[in-house]
């Protein structure tokens, strides 16, 4: 790791103030991704602001009947929360499908949203990567692209977003609550939070410099049958090749969000609208416009098959 200075913030206001006043400052929460990247010198912050003690670790119901999840709530706590298990089961399921027990004990809600891609060329500092070094090129497009994105990509980047949790958050129409250096607060729908790469793949989300996520808010529960199905190269502790989060209501209407396919949690209105037509129609709508490589084109069929499994799970539970 490159040397850095370290401070522990005592308040949210202090944290955002010092983030904007110290050159090269980064927030650290769970640290499970940031420290990994710092060891590889992919991330080289000059200053770390520890935000673990700001009281952002509570889960509260909102006036509108939704749920406000503090940015620092650990993945384990969120998956085990009584309300989440009962009313937002797809989120519990997605959380426990991700990482390992040790990592979930440390990883936070906001940190999970902000984790970087696991594209092998992003991690290999000897290779070109537009996300790591803007303008250096993309080694993945003609390289080992098997795990990478098939839709929402650009000629500059085909990296996939690795999160399971974010896929469920997208399905549930979460919003990301943010505070800026001047103390101004805003809320961004998760649909608009993660950005597609275009020709600026190094800009991954809507956060402005120095901004801090304080919580993630879920709307009131939508009921229905919740399913999260993840397909990966081993049974546990691996990133998704394809994952599907789904909620079905009684008359067969459904909504779907996908992991492993795109640079952000992937959801399209046309796929939701195709729910009654069954898995192949939903897959076709979800992947309309896909631009796979020869090595990851299999994800299209795998998406249809994963959806078929999701529809069967739904029948079993209904």
């Amino acid at each position: 790791m490159k040397p850095f200075t370290y401070t522990r913030a005592a308040s949210v206001e202090e944290a955002v103030r010092s983030a904007s006043s110290v050159q090269g400052a980064r927030f650290i929460a769970g640290g499970t991704n940031l420290l990994d990247l710092m060891k590889l010198q992919i991330e080289t912050p000059a200053h770390l602001i520890d935000i673990n003690h700001l009281g952002l670790d509570r889960i509260e119901t909102t006036a509108g009947g939704g749920l406000r999840i503090g940015a620092l709530v650990r993945n384990t706590e969120l998956a085990a929360d009584r309300t989440v298990r009962r009313d937002y089961a797809v989120l519990s399921r997605a959380l426990v499908a991700g990482a390992s027990g040790q990592l979930r004990n440390k990883a936070t809600t906001a940190g999970n949203l902000l984790q970087r891609t696991r594209c092998p060329y992003f991690y290999d500092t000897r290779m070109p990567c537009n996300k790591r070094r803007p303008g250096s090129g993309c080694a993945a497009i003609k390289g080992m692209s098997r795990s990478l994105a098939v839709i929402g990509t650009s000629d500059a980047c085909i990296a996939q977003h690795p999160s399971d949790m974010a896929v469920a958050m997208r399905l549930l129409d979460a919003s990301v609550d943010i505070i800026g250096a001047d103390g101004a607060r805003r809320s961004v729908p998760i649909a608009d939070f993660h950005l597609l790469p275009g020709d600026t793949p190094h800009i991954e989300n809507a956060l402005k410099p120095g901004e801090l996520i304080t919580s993630v808010t879920l709307p009131k529960p939508i009921g229905g049958t919740h399913v999260y199905r993840k397909v990966r190269d081993r049974a546990s502790y691996a990133f998704a090749l394809v994952s599907v989060a789904a909620v079905f209501d009684r008359d067969g209407q459904g909504r779907f969000a996908f992991g492993g396919l795109a640079p952000k949690p992937w959801r399209v209105a046309a796929a939701d609208a195709a729910a009654r037509s069954g898995a192949p129609a939903v897959a076709e709508a979800a992947l309309d416009g896909a631009r796979p490589t020869p090595l990851n084109a299999f994800k299209q069929q795998l998406t249809a098959r994963t959806l078929a499994s999701v529809f069967r799970q739904r029948e079993a539970r209904a």
Binding site: F4, T5, G31, D36, S92, V96, G101, Q102, S236
Partner: protein, 169 residues
Amino acid sequence: MVAVELNVNGREAHLQLDPRTTLLDTLREHLHLTGTKKGCDHGQCGACTVIVEGRRINSCLTLAVMHQGDKVTTIEGLGTPERLHPMQRAFVTHDGYQCGYCTPGQICSAVAVLEEIEAGIPSHATDDLEKVAFSDAEVRERMSGNICRCAAYPNIIAAIRDVAGEDKA
């Protein structure tokens, strides 16, 4: 250098550390508790698993300075050669290791896994999110963050099952 105070295995430790020092390197290089092992140093193998404030974590993926005042339990704090922790004894009884390098992490993880099941924390193997109960499938899933290159997995499961009391059935 920054001052860091930890409670490791019931003992207060007062340290002066480079902020870059991971909890793992603090335990091994500064406190000379070499039971905790460095495998991948990237959170992928689980050899460095310790229990911090009651939760198992990868000690390689956290900075000591982030754990000011925290209680840390390592393999040395679970038991001693004279007074083994039940999980340590079960690993011996069931031959839950071959080379032994991953074993301290396996045992710390296993002790925490049984507490997580007891606390009703669900896993990917949990069928009904409201009913969390011990099963071999639960243990396999929950232990997936601890890799054993010697593949002692069947005996590791047997050891954990023994401690969980399921062997009596």
